[in-house]
Symmetry: C2
Subunit: 226 residues, 2 copies
């Protein structure tokens, strides 16, 4: 790597961090070339060298978000090389927990992600990318539901894709609630709400709902009536 290229990479990293800081506090609405330049102590002119427009800056911000999301330890694919969770219900739970703002990085990432919806809905290209991302996630959840049914962890019922769509709706909405009322929705309550949701799904399965064993605290609430 030539020094020039190294400089360029270092500067892009610096820009990415400034973008992240601006988004965390001011959201996409406050993401301007001027704000990022000020955050870096640089000129707007220098920044336009990297990002000629606000749209380029927004696209970059979403890339940064993607990379940061992949970098933080996740239950579904632990960064420490630990074993991924088993298939079926446990995997479904891990995938859904990964979405929630349970810790500071999760809150920051979700705040930015939720903030991106306004910009994305106004731009067909970004909107399509967001929709594709959610569709992929639903595909993964659908597989988990199908496997959980084969394992007897979830009862037969509506199409697996519908169970997956409902579960995705549930966690997306929980993210929004937790962002607006973090004191009312601490990590423990989010987890309990998710486990109660999963317990409802498992009600009626072979063993009378195995989520209790998987979910730990809170599981069983809601399934007690089955």
């Amino acid at each position: 790597m030539t020094p020039a290229r190294g400089d360029h990479e270092a500067r892009r990293t610096e820009v990415s961090e400034a973008v992240w800081r601006v988004l965390s506090t001011r959201g996409f609405e406050g993401l301007t070339l001027r704000a990022v330049a000020a955050e870096m102590g640089a000129t707007t002119g220098l920044l336009t060298h990297y990002f000629p427009s606000k749209k380029a800056l927004v696209a970059h911000a979403l890339d940064v978000l993607d990379r940061r999301s992949l970098a933080r330890p996740r239950r579904l694919a632990p960064a420490d090389g630990g074993p991924p969770p088993p298939e079926g219900l446990a995997r479904l739970r891990a995938a859904l927990l990964d979405v929630l703002p349970l810790d500071a990085p999760g809150r920051a990432g979700n705040r930015i992600w939720v903030g991106s919806w306004d910009v994305a809905l106004a731009d067909p290209e970004l909107s399509e990318a967001h929709a594709a991302r959610y569709a992929r996630a639903r595909g993964l959840l659908t597989e988990c539901v199908e496997t959980a049914r084969r394992l007897g962890e979830l009862p037969a019922g509506p199409p697996a894709a519908e169970v997956a769509a409902a579960a995705q709706a549930f966690v997306l909405g929980l993210v929004v609630q937790a962002l607006f009322a973090p004191a009312e929705f601490p990590a423990r309550r989010q987890t309990e709400l998710l486990d109660a949701y999963l317990a409802q799904l498992t009600a009626g399965a072979g063993a009378g709902g195995r989520a209790g064993g998987v979910a730990g605290e809170g599981a069983g609430a809601g399934a007690s009536s089955a």
Copy 2:
């Protein structure tokens, strides 16, 4: 009303409609004094007479959204003076259906509402107002759950407030999915997903789940295993 005042009111209405049109297509990110002025065929100078800052414009936009939401016919409080739905489960269903983007006005309102989250999360005052709004809605849903339990429509289980929070999470997330993938989430599928959700809640209630009678099509899916 003096002519001057009438002019002022007429102008404010004109501004509100321009704000609505800008928000519907470009979101809060695209809501600038310049964009609204252009939409009205007016000068930015004239507009700053009404709204000295972007923040004032955003606050006004949220007011417009509130008024429009109240104005459109809603199941929970029909504008045509028809009878409100009965208490309990039917009322819970009506309140949740009212949130979903089931028609064009519902889509426009939700697109703008979801778009407001980025701006609101960056502003403590707006954020608090949003949180208070959601807390009020949860309070209403909690009452519905309590009544439904008294009526034997919902089984005993976790605290009613938790059932309400979960139901709110579910519809909020469904709104987001439907906005990004309207073709995949037409009104019928949204309604079916909600009814399947309610059927899960009613599983185990006295009559084996009364939601079937309330919810019509799609209800019963998910409860069949109870």
